[in-house]
Symmetry: C2
Subunit: 231 residues, 2 copies
């Protein structure tokens, strides 16, 4: 047995002795978790109220508990605090949003314009999230045939942050009407970081169990039966 | 005001009157949620024990509560039940895994081979998950500059399923060492569906709060401070 394998066996043995008691999740927890999933919303209207000290850092540390391909942890969180950069992101959104408006039929365009797609003016905290495609962490495990799994790991970390925020009474809005290469430039991050999403975080104006786009008549959720195949 | 906008206003007004009471999430729920995130694992060893009747369908319906770009709900779940198709997926994994082994240094390759990267032989339920890039749902909202947000929505739905499964005492293993175009062919799904991941679902052999790759000495989790920038 080589030294690497011995080390591997030893680590397993050590862990056996020191493992914490696994938690048991009961029906009451599952019901609350379902509430969390049902009442998580993509928030666009925020109160102009600062987050508690350390809240965003805590949410990011919870997001870091997410699964990642080959334990690569490729998520990179950029807290956007500079007013000039915030204005540049707002401009980027407006340019992309204008193009998107022109693609919609006139009656839908009017609706689209009213949907107020960004909380960029109101949210106290803005976080841009990137995937570090060049990370050596994980030694490439599990991502050779599908390097895009690095990006998926980051999308999942955003989701974890979103759920943790909602459980603290905070709302998250994911802005995707942006130009990824422009975001990389505005935020001056390495060029091999892939832009995944820009998040607005703050106290929501309202709580709801129905997506804003459904309330507004844009689109409706469909029954799960329609998305399941058997093979 | 055109008829579309009137309808929009009306829907909002109707909703005001009928909205359910928002849930309040307390510190005890947040502590359990943190336990769930800490004890969710990428499971590779499963008991040979069937899932309860209807369990996977329930987990998929919970996954459908996930956020999706423009309410496009692009997730498509393929329950893989046919033995021939399961064997073809196993072959696909083995071919990709062999290539991956050759890329690693010899000592790491030995470790890699022992990590048992797939629960493909043991898990009672296997689900392949795809993103329908051609869906008309959502009318393209929010995804013009970043069509890959459709794929991110599906990755997030997988994460929701994962958490819901863990809360029921079930484990999920995400297999990414596969060839996406081969998966599309094996499962005979439309060619504009993008393969996102193949999931093994079952009762885990063991529970743990430390990732298997960390237990095995492959890689370690890093402190969250290292992934936060301020701009």
């Amino acid at each position: 047995m080589d030294s690497f394998s011995r080390q591997f066996e030893q680590r397993f043995a050590e862990r056996e002795g020191q493992q914490a008691e696994p938690p048991a999740f009961d029906a009451s927890f599952r019901a609350r978790l379902l509430d969390l999933l049902k009442w998580r919303r993509d928030v666009r209207r925020f109160k102009r109220l600062a987050l508690p000290e350390g809240a965003i850092e805590r949410l990011i540390s919870i997001a870091c508990l997410s699964p990642s391909v080959g334990l690569s942890e490729p998520w990179r969180f950029v807290l956007v605090e500079d007013e000039m950069r915030r204005a540049a992101i707002r401009d980027c959104f407006q340019a992309c949003n204008k193009d998107a408006l022109e693609m919609q039929a006139p009656d839908r365009a009017a609706l689209y314009a009213r949907l107020k797609l960004a909380g960029l003016d109101e949210a106290p905290v803005q976080v841009s999230v990137f995937a570090d495609r060049a990370t050596a962490q994980g030694s490439g495990l599990g991502r050779r045939t599908m390097p895009e799994t690095l990006d998926y790991s980051v999308a999942i970390a955003i989701h974890t942050l979103w759920l943790a925020a909602r459980a603290e009474g905070l709302g998250v809005g994911w802005v995707s009407i942006l130009d990824p290469s422009r975001m990389t430039a505005i935020l001056d991050v390495p060029s091999d970081w892939v832009f995944i999403g820009h998040l607005c975080v703050g106290y929501p104006e309202a709580e709801d169990d129905t997506p804003a786009l459904e309330r507004a008549g844009w689109e409706q959720r469909r029954p799960p039966e329609g998305v399941v195949l058997r093979r």
